[in-house]
Amino acid sequence: MTDFLETIQSRSDLIQQAFFEHIYLSFVALAIGIAIALPLGILIARHRKYAEPVIGVTAVFQTIPSLALFGFLVPLMGIGSNTALIALIIYALLPILRNTYTGLTSVDSSIIEAGRGMGMTRTQILKQIEFPLALPFIMAGIRTATVLTVGIATLATFVGAGGLGDVIYRGLQSYNNSLVLAGALPVALLAISFDLLLKWVEKKATPKGMKTQ
């Protein structure tokens, strides 16, 4: 225990830097992932015949083991944080895309028809009806993607993009269990706290009238 605390103190610079790198990688990847998957999800919900192939492609990416995906990207992109970001974005896509699609398509068709019949435009229906009703699903997708990304970002160290994986890797190489723990613990805490935070946001995103169901 004292070893552990000493390690944290002596390596605090490294740990701090790695921590912020980790957060940077995770969040930039998530932000770009949302920026791609959300509009794409809306698009395939509108044109459902494209839904299966699009979701299929993202699902295939998802099945590639994460370390292998980093491996594939290195010859193409070289090393550095951009390579890590692309891999993380690819992983973040599927949960957000799938949940956006499911959320939008599961809105009761009679509700949409009522909106159409009363003279709402397609944009009004999307903004005022479909999106609010699909929001809990979409938030759940973002939550899954966040936890996933924070975890996988640990591997960014192998493409030289830093992050808490650096700390863990160094610890492993030098048989320094305390250092391994000093990297692993923050990753776990990050994942858990974001999960809890987003769970709360998800609950808040559920429209008030839907909770009585």
Binding site: D108, G115, G117, M118, G119, T121, Q128, L133, G209
Partner: protein
């Protein structure tokens, strides 16, 4: 007035929902479109607000083709109530009811006034309900809100697609009565789709009977009961209902076949065809020179009937026994 001019609707899979339909729906009346499921009644109604587009032919409102009108503007000028209620679960009753006025850009004050007025008319206290959510209300209350929502934008035409069919019988009866009263107050052109003949006979000013995409008969409830155009209409209304709505004297003698007697009672016999009205039989039997009637169906003798058997038949009908069918 809404006019359908030779409207045909063919879906992508080749089924013809409507076949060369021409009809008019009168202004300010409650018109019921009725028919068995799959007869095209909902398709017909949805053409009025352009949710369905005719394959050929035209739909005109006050002699203006709806093709020439902006779709969104057209729909905002027509109230719409759907079967599965379709209230937006994430919006309060106030927001749901105010949807069309909001889309039309009415002032908040005018909207609120209009919604409260309609809530009161339909028996929902605005104070109690405006801030609730749809799922906190019973089915009957939700559909009342559905009606308020349809009327809020002050449309001249209101379309109702089997609006009460998902409700329990008591709420359904109540809402039918309320709709009837409401219609008498507001005098809108209401187009009401149903498959329930009792509902149609109860609320309609004007009924359109559809079968397999074709109009079988149009007319008032009275017309349908007294002059069903063909066997389909007669069967669809149901002999039972026709009888219930008709006075005893207007029934056919053949409906009393279970009261026929085979033995002749009395001396003075007059022949009558079984397709004649009971009224005529009564008139004949009242005459002193008639004791008993010999009834013929297609020239063939089927039995006798006299005053006692008629009386028995009347009594049986009065208590509702229907031994004739």
């Amino acid at each position: 007035m809404i006019r359908f001019d030779q409207v045909t609707k063919r879906f992508a899979d080749g089924t013809e929902a409507l076949k060369d339909v021409s009809l008019t729906i009168p202004t300010g009346k409650l018109t019921v479109i009725i028919g068995p499921s799959g007869c095209g009644k909902t398709t017909l109604m949805k053409m009025i607000n352009h949710l369905e587009v005719p394959t050929s032919g035209d739909v005109l409102i006050d002699e203006q083709s709806i093709k020439d009108r902006d779709e969104v503007e057209l729909r905002r000028s027509i109230g719409y109530v759907i079967q599965r209620i379709g209230l937006f679960p994430h919006m309060t009753i106030a927001k749901n009811a105010a949807l069309v006025p909001t889309l039309k850009g009415w002032s908040a004050e005018k909207t609120k006034e209009r919604v409260s007025e309609l809530m009161n008319i339909t028996g929902l206290d605005p104070e109690t309900y405006l801030h609730r959510f749809p799922l906190e209300l019973s089915g009957g209350q939700q559909q009342r809100v559905g009606v308020v929502r349809a009327l809020a934008g002050d449309p001249n035409i209101v379309l109702m697609d089997e609006p009460f069919s998902a409700l329990d019988p008591i709420s359904r009866e109540q809402l039918q009565d309320e709709l009837r009263n409401l219609q008498q107050r507001i005098q809108k052109t209401i187009v009401f789709v149903t498959h329930d003949m009792d509902e149609a006979l109860k609320i309609a000013d004007h009924i359109i009977v559809l079968r397999a995409g074709k109009v079988e008969q149009t007319g008032s409830a009275h017309d349908l009961i007294h002059e069903p155009a063909n066997d389909f209409v007669r069967n669809f209304i149901g002999q039972d209902r026709i009888n219930r709505q008709r006075s005893f004297g207007q029934r056919k003698i053949s409906e009393l076949s279970s009261y026929y007697k085979q033995a002749k009672i009395g001396e003075l016999v007059v022949s009558i065809n079984s397709s004649e009205d009971v009224e005529k039989a009564i008139a004949l039997l009242e005459q002193p020179q008639t004791d008993v009637l010999a009834i013929y169906t297609n020239e063939e003798f089927v039995g006798y009937i006299d005053q006692t058997s008629l009386l028995k038949a009347v009594l049986a009908k009065e208590v509702g026994a229907s031994s004739y069918d």
